[in-house]
Assembly symmetry: C2
Homo-oligomer: 118 residues x 2
């Protein structure tokens, strides 16, 4: 829905003054969910594995429980997937983003006009 617009609105969420969720962490969770691996998700975002691992680790610290679970060995050679908590966080953020975008369409159109007046 926002794909046709040149303006994109995303959310930054702080808890007690500390940034806990934003587009970067959410895009990472979404890719881990889709690609089944932290390293593949990091590669897909042009991010180092270390940075991806740190973001996942920060989420675990913020929410007190893992958002990603990893498995080693087996036929598939190991991988990663979201825990129910990780999936819930991803879903909540996407719902918030949708609602925020729907609530601000008039102002986004006004910003578009201001930017077009260049």
């Amino acid at each position: 829905m926002s794909g046709r617009r040149s303006i994109a609105v995303s959310l930054k969420i702080k808890h007690d003054g500390i940034s806990i969720l934003g587009p970067g962490k959410i895009d990472l969770l979404e890719r881990i969910d889709r690609l089944g691996s932290i390293s593949a998700a990091a590669r897909d975002m042009g991010m180092s594995y270390r940075r991806a691992w740190l973001l996942v680790s920060h989420l675990k610290e913020s929410f007190g429980k893992p958002v990603v679970e990893t498995s080693h060995g087996g036929k598939s050679g190991g991988g990663a997937r979201l825990t129910p908590l990780g999936a819930k966080i991803l879903d909540l953020y996407r719902v918030m983003e949708d609602k925020a975008r729907q609530a601000t369409t008039a102002e986004v159109a006004e910003l578009e006009r201001l930017l077009a007046d260049n």
Copy 2:
């Protein structure tokens, strides 16, 4: 209204993939408006004058017109104030933030619960 919550939602706004507005630039505009000076606003945010000047300059580039006008000399020794465009951008962003926050109260409450389960 959001002061009592430990979760704070803010907006990042991109235009054609480039970040044009977020809490940092908006807090700066608000302080320039209140304090009447870019250097006082920068000091109040613990930001260098150069960084504040760069942010104001990026806004001018994005919107094609100045968002701050400065005066030199005179009794007051010069100062800065928002242009009508700068005031409009500040106002639009604050309205968007309010609407986004009002639209996402249920999800924020759910995030609060997830964070409290630690």
